[in-house]
């Protein structure tokens, strides 16, 4: 029994593992390279670029929340400041004809994020927990409201813009077409993800995890948890700055929304929904949330409400996020007992889906009456048209919602039993589950 456990974690990575890691990187690089060939429309390239930026930003956020245990409500400060500096840098480089090409500009954004983190971080990271969350909120509000006062630098409400194509060119890339921006984002994303992965595998990276788990004990193995938190904060600010600069390059504008509470909230949502306990969690979250916000906004007018409800649901029912949910099943897969839970999932799926449908219809009908009650009552949400004034629709929604809940509750109990059974069987085989 013990052999299985120890064999899963070797004392040091075997040559085969290193090869596997390099192979994976290579495959990702190839995939990023050919992606624009498969989806070449401007819209999808913009989407890919936004996903890439969001991945860098979310991963930088998870250096705080997932790796070091610091909940920040003001991470957009470093993202936004990176964006503003990138725009100013593009303008200065363009006006003075400096021999600096556009691909270097994100580094300027990153260094700005780093500088701000260095200055603001020492005070912020003195404590963790609620105190850190509060001071991050305070600093964020301080910077966001200052941005509206310093109009010359931040451009007031409208922000400041730049023309990214006027810079010094290498290989004759103008960075006008979206596909070139896509490659710029993809390259920086790959570099940033590798760098952040490497960082988790250093002495500092491991001490970050130790500080997250038990800041008190860290002091008794020779480390000052404040310094550990501070360094993590600085790195996090650096990568957030890179993400902000890429966003500014992508849109050729930086405005106060970059630094605002909504931006800070979005990165928190993405990271947490993806799963803070895993390295790939924020990647999953960034992809999911970016696509969801783009997709949902086409399907329904109140997508932000669904967004918030999904977040609350994840906090309540799946604290490990999407990645956590999936990884929970890994021991079952290893033990070969996954088959014991799957049937109960299928059974639970039907009433749960019915309940959610009823809920969504109820929301959409309410929205219709609240927002545009004078208009035509035939509404369309999620691609389905229905009559919001029809009693039949109301009744159906109520039946689905209440009936679905009552039936679903029983199937969830069933899922729980099947789960206990499957994990119990896995444990008997010596697989920790």
């Amino acid at each position: 029994m013990r052999e299985t456990i120890s064999s899963t974690v070797p004392l040091y990575p075997a040559a085969a593992d290193k090869l596997k890691f390099r192979g994976l990187l290579f495959a990702v690089a190839i995939a990023l390279l050919i992606l624009p060939k498969l989806f070449s429309s401007g819209g999808s390239l913009t989407t890919f670029s936004l996903v890439g930026i969001s991945i860098i930003f979310s991963m930088s956020y998870n250096m705080l929340l997932g790796q070091t245990g610091m909940l920040s409500f003001g991470h957009a400060v470093y993202y936004g400041i990176g964006g503003f500096l990138a725009i100013h840098a593009i303008n200065i480089i363009g006006t003075n004809k400096l021999p600096i090409p556009l691909p270097v500009v994100p580094l300027i954004g990153g260094l700005t994020g780093l500088l701000f983190a260095v200055v603001l971080g020492w005070v912020s990271t003195r404590r963790s927990g609620t105190a850190f969350a509060m001071i991050s909120l305070g600093v964020a509000e301080l910077v966001a409201s200052s941005a509206l006062i310093l109009r010359t630098f931040f451009g007031g409400e409208s922000g400041i813009s730049a023309n990214r194509t006027r810079l010094f060119r290498v290989f004759d890339w103008s960075f006008g077409p979206q596909v070139q921006i896509y490659y710029l984002v993809a390259a920086w994303m790959l570099i940033a993800v590798i760098a952040m992965y490497a960082l988790t595998r250093t002495p500092l990276g491991r001490m970050c995890n130790a500080v997250r788990d038990n800041p008190e004990r860290v002091q008794f193995v020779g480390y000052d948890p404040h310094v550990v938190r501070y360094l993590a904060f600085c790195f996090s600010g650096f990568f957030a700055g890179i993400a902000g600069a890429l966003a500014a390059i992508c849109f050729e504008i930086a405005n106060s929304a970059y630094l605002g509470a909504v931006q800070s909230g979005t990165v928190l949502f993405a990271t947490y929904i993806g799963g803070v306990g895993f390295f790939i969690g924020p990647i999953v979250g960034a992809v999911f949330v970016t696509l969801l916000s783009l997709g949902l906004s086409d399907l329904t007018a109140v997508w932000q409400l669904y967004f918030g409800l999904i977040f609350i649901a994840v906090v309540m029912f799946a604290p490990g996020g999407i990645t956590g949910l999936l990884m929970m099943h890994r021991p079952l897969l290893e033990a070969g007992t996954l088959g014991r839970v799957l049937p109960s999932y299928f059974i639970a799926f039907v009433p749960t889906a019915a309940m959610l449908t009823g809920f969504i219809v109820a929301i959409e009908v309410t929205v219709h009456y609240a927002v545009n009650s004078g208009d035509d009552s035939r509404i369309k949400a999620f691609g389905v048209s229905f009559d919001a004034a029809s009693r039949y629709v109301w009744a159906m929604s109520a039946v689905l919602l209440i009936g679905g809940f009552l039936v679903a509750r029983r199937t969830w109990t069933r899922v729980r039993h099947a789960w206990d059974d499957a994990t119990g069987a896995a444990r008997e085989q010596g697989i920790p589950a």
Binding site: V123, R127, A133, M134, G138, Q304, I312, A370
Partner: protein, 315 residues
């Protein structure tokens, strides 16, 4: 000048009392449940919108009673069916839950009442000047707000001193770790405390609604100020929250009414017309930096006195 000082002091005290109406609930909830309720200002907003809706249907006075009860019931439900479940996942999950809740409530309010301000007016029975100081008419509605706040504090103080629940709350304020040993009905007490705390915020919302602007962003703009108040006063300290509420209220009203700037004091910089970095800082008025002051205060407090003004616990 004297007029300005008197009026600003009155307004400042009033705004401070309003803040305390919310900060007191937030503080008690934090002491007992260990959760900083990030959605607290959302209940203030719910109070204002419920108040608006109910006063349109039944008039202002029923609204003043029903809206807080409604918001408090929602608060109690949130504690019972949401927070209690999340509690096992730790403090970060609890903070995140209230954060998500604040987001969802704002969206809901936006959906139901729209983004623009609603027409929530001072009831005619209270819409006349109370007295005139110098040349300014001081509205009776503001006196009414002050009166309601003071009445609620008196009631709270009596509850705190004379009832069993009050004693438990007091014990929780001084010995937060002992809350777990209160016995089998601890769940009900938590629900009650959360319900009352949110109802208090809603009262503040109902009475502030007509005086200020009732709009879907009111929680988002007030929430952070509220956290400044409880952190500056000292997390978990009721007297601290009181002092900090008044302090922030006064600072904000005074700052808004002042137009001084470095340029005003020292004359314009060389080429004053040219917009530069420095000119921005030089020309900014105190009124313009008013929104920044509370946060600057928060950062300073966290640097120099992390337990807050009257707090005993290190945050």
């Amino acid at each position: 000048m004297l007029e300005l000082i008197v009026i600003s002091t009155l307004n400042g005290v009033l705004s401070g009392m309003q803040l305390f109406l919310m900060a007191s609930g937030l503080t008690v909830i934090f002491s007992m449940l260990g959760v900083l309720n990030l959605a607290h200002a959302s209940f203030y907003m719910l109070g204002a919108f419920f108040g608006y809706q109910i006063s349109r249907w039944f008039g202002f006075w029923p609204a003043l009673l029903i809206a807080p009860l409604l918001a408090g019931a929602i608060g109690a439900g949130v504690e019972r069916f949401g927070l209690r479940r999340v509690h096992n996942s730790g403090h970060v999950a609890e903070l995140l839950f209230t954060f998500g809740l604040a987001f969802a409530i704002e969206e809901l309010v936006q959906i139901i009442w729209g983004k623009s301000p609603v027409d929530f007016r001072v009831p005619p029975s209270l819409d006349f000047p109370a007295f005139t100081i110098f040349s300014t008419n001081y509205p009776v509605y503001k006196m009414f707000m002050l009166l309601v706040s003071v009445a609620i504090f008196t009631a709270l103080l009596i509850t705190l001193k004379k009832t069993r629940i009050g004693l438990i709350v007091q014990a929780a304020l001084t010995h937060p770790h002992m809350v777990g040993h209160l016995g089998h009905n601890v769940g009900r007490i938590f629900m009650l405390v959360f319900g009352i705390g949110t109802a208090l915020a809603a009262v503040a919302g109902v009475i502030a609604g007509p005086a200020l602007v009732t709009q879907s962003n009111m929680a988002g703009s007030l929430g952070p100020i509220l956290f400044v108040v409880v952190v500056v006063g000292g997390l978990g300290s009721l007297p601290g929250a009181f002092v900090a509420s008044l302090l922030i209220g006064l600072i904000q009203t005074f700052a808004v009414s002042m137009n001084g700037s470095l340029a005003g004091a020292f004359g314009p910089l060389g080429a004053a017309d040219e917009p530069t970095w420095l000119a921005d800082i030089w020309g900014v008025t105190i009124a313009q930096i008013a929104p920044v002051i509370p946060y600057a205060l928060l950062v300073l407090i966290l640097i120099f006195r992390p337990m807050g003004l009257l707090g005993t616990r290190d945050t």
